[in-house]
Structure formats: C-alpha cells, structure tokens
Amino acid sequence: MAAQAQGTTAPAWSQLSADQKHLLAPLAKEWDTLEPESRKRWSRMATRYPTLAPDQQNRFKQRLQEWSKLTPGERGQARERYKELRNLPPERRKELRQRWHEYQQLPEEQRQQLREQQAPPPGGKGDARPPR
C-alpha cells in the first residue's frame, strides 16, 4: 500500500496514494525533479483537496493542468502576483475577474500588442531555476 505522503520526507511518486496520484497526475512527469519541499507541499495539498468546495476542486484540477505547463519563472511570477491581488476587497476582485473576461474578448492581435508593450520580467520563459 502506498504511503500517505504527509510526513517530513519528500515522497517519491511511487509513495503517493492512488488518490494523490490521480489528482497530481499533471505533475507526474516532473515529480522526481521537483524540489523536496515542493513535493511535500503538493502531497499535503492533495491530502487536503477533498476539503475544498466542489467548484474549488474543479478549478484546482483544471489549474493544475495549466500550472504543469508553466516555467519555473512563470510559477514564481504567478505566486507573487497572486499574493499582491488576493487581499483586494471582494468587489475589486470581482471587477478584476470581469476585466479578465473582457481582456479575453479582445482580438489575439491586440492582446499580443499589449504583451509586447511590456518587456518580459526577469525569470520568465527560459528561467534556469529547477522546476518547482
């Protein structure tokens, strides 16, 4: 039986439970290259996943797919930006979601132009740090 990887050691993929493997499948390929702290964190998050509300669970699974495709630099950038925005008042967060929706409606060419107006931040694509 696979160990419920919640302890102090970073679990190998083979040590995860079936449920943890199922949830964390998008990270399976890179699992053994993840830093030990990241592996512990993901296994703890997978253990707590059933406590999330159903809509949160759905988003978690969907976003994990997106997350697995990001570079380490993009992951760090996403964390930092999330930290900045998570304390916005609820009405501002709602507005931000609305604005993201509006942004998605823009033609791809316009969005690309907007992207090019801002130089990519240091640590973006091609960041040499180990994956997390």
Partner: protein, 123 residues
C-alpha cells in the same frame, strides 16, 4: 490567663501614671496631635500616595505589559504562520482553486491593459 486578661493588664500598665504627666509633656503631645491632624485634613490623599509610591508605576507597567505581550505574541504567531509550510500550502491552494485563471497572473498583456484602461483594479 487568656488573651483578654493579658490585653487589659497591658493597657493598665501603659495608662499607669498618665495623670501624673507634667503639663509641658501633655502640651507637646497635644501640639503634635493637632499638627498631625492638620496635615491629614489638608491633603487626605498625600499620605496614601506616599505610602504606595510605587503603586502608580506598577500599575502603568501592568497596563503596558499586557498589550505588549499581546503584540509580541501576535507578531510571533504571524511570523511563524508566514514561514510555516501550511502558509505556502494555503497560498498555492488559494491560487489554484481561485476564480482567476493562472494566466491572469502572468499575462503581461493583461497587466498593460489594466494600466492603460480607466477603472483598473490594481494594487
């Protein structure tokens, strides 16, 4: 002999000869009593303040100690929470289970668009 008998005999002994005190002594005692009463009536609180001179300081220290202890405990707790693994877990869980897609946090075009347009919910 019980306690009452002993007390009565001590009082009798102390009172013995009071009637024979010289008038100069009784006058000095009366003057001293009058002066003590005058001081007491003039500033009733003074004696108490003097007797408990340290009390206000102690009270102030106690009044400051409790909020300081609360602040220190809160800061220690906050630091511990921020450095704890569960804080990182909550951060990533909140980001992945949140309502905004991951790409909203990393798309530079979205940032630019927010800045360039009016009602920007930026930090």
């Amino acid at each position: 002999m019980n306690e009452n008998d002993l007390a009565r005999r001590i009082v009798e002994r102390l009172d013995h000869g009071l009637d024979e005190l010289p008038s100069s002594t009784t006058q000095k005692l009366q003057a001293a009593r009058a002066a003590a009463l005058a001081r007491y009536r003039g500033d009733p609180g003074q004696g108490r303040w003097r007797a408990g001179a340290l009390l206000p300081g102690r009270g102030l220290a106690l009044r400051l100690a409790l909020p300081m202890a609360i602040v220190i405990a809160s800061l220690t707790g906050l630091l511990y929470w921020q450095m704890s693994p569960s804080h990182d877990d909550e951060l990533d869980t909140g980001m992945l289970a949140g309502e905004l897609p991951i790409h909203a946090y990393i798309d530079p075009g979205f940032d630019t668009w927010l800045r360039n347009t009016s009602h920007t919910p930026q930090q």
